[in-house]
């Protein structure tokens, strides 16, 4: 079949092929946009926000103090005056839950911050230098891991001094950094052979630049999700320490010590255990959802 030449015309588009229609957005805007679309993550974030408001603002709106005894009103059931009831010394459970929440959340955040900085620093060095240094550093972690965690915590608590809020934060921070270090090390080890890292090295980037601009930002996803999961486990660990008596000391309270107190009288006063346990459970769920949401939001490859 023959086609006449004049039936054709050059296909020159009016719009340049290089033009991108989508508006330009920064990484943080993009991440936030994707985070907002994730319903579970948003629910988790709102829950966490309300918990923080409850624990930090709540005490200003109620009439009871977390440490005032009222021996006439022991073991009260939940009522309008005491929405969550009272404990064995007649202290308002809601007030104690608010103060306990401050302690628990603070311990969760601060100990994970310590864990995070130690883990990223140690794992970063190990993964970046690799070879024999990496081998040695990872064997040290294996040795620390082989010591039972509880033994290690109790020893540290005895050495550093039991009871203080700051001490608990430090101890939990330095007990849990190994997992973070391993994850960061694995990430860095894989990333440092990436061509963009090689490209930065051929441009003359120094160690500091490679770490801060190329390696750690790209390992952020696993770091965020590990941190988000480490917070509830730190809260749990603190609860356990309080339970065996080397954690938060009365009259101060944490959700863990409240749950431990409640456990003593389950048959008669189950609500004394229910509220702190529910607070811990809700917090853990919320952190998990937020952690997952953050990971999806920060990972451009997951972009829909």
């Amino acid at each position: 079949m023959k086609m006449a030449q004049d039936l054709f015309e050059p296909a020159i588009s009016q719009i340049s092929a290089e033009h991108i229609n989508r508006p330009s957005t920064t990484m943080m805007q993009d991440a936030w946009r994707r985070f907002k679309q994730n319903k579970l993550a948003m629910a988790g974030l709102i829950t966490l926000g309300s918990l923080i408001l409850f624990t930090f603002m709540g005490p200003y709106f109620i009439d009871f103090n977390y440490m005032d005894n009222d021996l006439m009103n022991q073991h009260l059931k939940p009522s309008w005056t005491h929405p969550f009831g009272t404990d064995a010394l007649g202290r308002d459970t809601m007030a104690r839950l608010m103060y306990g929440g401050r302690v628990s959340l603070a311990i969760g955040f601060v100990s994970v911050l310590i864990n995070l900085s130690m883990g990223v620093f140690y794992g970063g060095i190990s993964g970046y230098f690799g070879g024999r240094i990496d081998n040695l550093m990872m064997r040290i972690i294996d040795i620390i891991y082989s010591v039972p965690e509880l033994l290690y915590v109790i020893l540290l608590m005895v050495v550093i001094g039991k009871g203080g809020l700051l001490n608990i934060m430090i101890v939990l921070g330095i007990v849990n950094w190994m997992g973070m270090a391993r994850i960061v090390r694995g990430q860095i080890l894989a990333l440092r052979e990436q061509e963009y890292v090689l490209a930065a090295r051929t441009l003359g980037a120094n160690t500091r630049r490679l770490m801060l601009k190329h390696l750690i930002p790209n390992a952020l996803g696993p770091i965020i999700i590990t941190s988000a999961l480490a917070i509830p486990s730190a809260i749990f660990m603190e609860a356990f320490l309080s339970f065996i008596g080397i954690g938060i000391q009365p009259p101060f309270a944490s959700w863990g010590s409240l749950a431990a107190e409640g456990r003593l009288n389950i048959p008669s006063y189950p609500y004394a255990l229910f509220f702190p346990a529910a607070a811990i459970a809700i917090t853990m769920l919320a952190f998990n959802f937020v952690g997952d949401g953050l990971r999806d939001a920060f990972d451009p490859k997951m972009r829909k």
Binding site: S16, E18, H19, I20, R22, S24, T26, M27, N135, Q194, E195, Y196, L198, A199, A200, R201, T202, L203, G204, A205, R209, K213, H214, P217, N218, L220, P300, K301, R303
Partner: protein, 328 residues
């Protein structure tokens, strides 16, 4: 398009060796060695393109990365503009990095997904403190224009671009520090054929405009022939033949080169039907335990006793043509 090749040597590689230790115990016992590059020597003249071809695993990428000091050479010398690259450190090495740059193979792995295109292209400017503030922005826009992209792309992230566009961003990054020599490590093998031509043409244009010298590593023989002035053929970490590209394709001497060239399809069905492929038997020997003498002897149809005993040196066959074979 002919680029005038000056006689001035910009890069000289002498007996470059790169071995990788592999495995072994905690204290380094039982260690095996991968013989990636086994003593290669060549010169690159200013303004020319030297192609390096060879099959996968023959050490061509390792050679490129060692020349730019991404790997520490085991032995040998690399002399760039009269300066010994292997002994450079600190500021000397940093200055060297301005003059020598690299373009990478995989456009999807060679751009940091967390950085904007502007920051990727501007990284060299930041490291070498070449420009800051408005001057930096202007320079980034200028570089984007050179590679045929719009300034508005500077705020985008790499994942918003196609493979060809990403490869162009990689080229802009290499150009940002005004290098004299660019090592192209298979820059087109991960791209569509239609985009390959676009990138190769762009590289040729840039060479003409900026007087660049290329070390072009590839396994696509027809593309290498198109862009290179001279071509080195590598086999198992050694150069087996080196000649002007036209000469090499017309008159290959080494049995490996002959086999390699016979694998190129000819875009003419009548000629293609009569094309005889020389099929080399067996597979490439392991670089952990290479054969004695000539590395190619285990697969060479013409191998003799001498091939197992002596390592063939590069013989001058005249007209800038050298080949390493006992039978020549």
């Amino acid at each position: 398009m002919e680029v005038e090749v000056k006689e001035e040597v910009i890069l000289e590689v002498k007996d470059l060796v790169k071995h990788f230790p592999m495995g072994g115990g905690f204290f380094g016992q039982n260690q095996q060695v991968v013989h990636a590059v086994n003593g290669i020597s060549f010169k690159v003249k200013k303004g020319e393109t030297l192609g390096i071809v060879g099959e996968s695993g023959c050490g061509k990428s390792t050679a490129g990365r060692t020349i730019i000091r991404l790997y520490e050479p085991t032995s040998g010398q690399i002399i760039f503009e009269g300066q010994d690259v292997t002994k450079s450190a600190g500021n000397d090495l940093l200055n060297l990095r301005r003059k020598m740059q690299m373009i990478f193979q995989d456009p999807y792995a060679s751009l940091n997904p967390r950085m904007t295109v502007g920051d990727i292209v501007g990284e060299g400017l930041d490291i070498h403190k070449l420009a800051s503030g408005q001057a930096r922005t202007d320079r980034i826009y200028e570089l984007l224009e050179v590679i045929g992209m719009n300034p508005e792309h500077a705020n985008r992230f790499p994942h918003e671009f196609s493979g060809g566009q990403r490869q162009r961003i990689g080229i802009a990054r290499a150009l940002s520090v005004n290098p004299r020599l660019i090592i192209c490590d298979e820059p087109i093998s991960a791209l569509d054929v239609s985009i390959q031509a676009q990138i190769v043409n762009m590289l040729e244009e840039l060479q003409e405009k900026m007087g660049l010298t290329y070390l072009f590593i590839a396994h696509d023989l027809s593309m290498v022939k198109h862009i290179s002035h001279r071509i080195a053929v590598m086999y198992l970490g050694r150069i087996v033949e080196l000649a002007d590209s036209f000469e090499l394709y017309k008159n290959p001497q080494h049995p490996y080169t002959k086999a390699l060239l016979s694998a190129i399809p000819i875009p003419d069905p009548r000629v293609e039907a009569t094309r005889k492929r020389i099929v080399v038997q067996g597979t490439v020997p392991s670089p952990i335990n290479p054969p004695s003498g000539c590395y190619f002897r285990t697969r060479c149809p013409h191998a003799k006793a001498v091939c197992a005993e002596q390592v063939p040196s590069l013989k001058d066959l005249g007209a800038n043509h050298v080949a390493a074979c006992h039978l020549l």
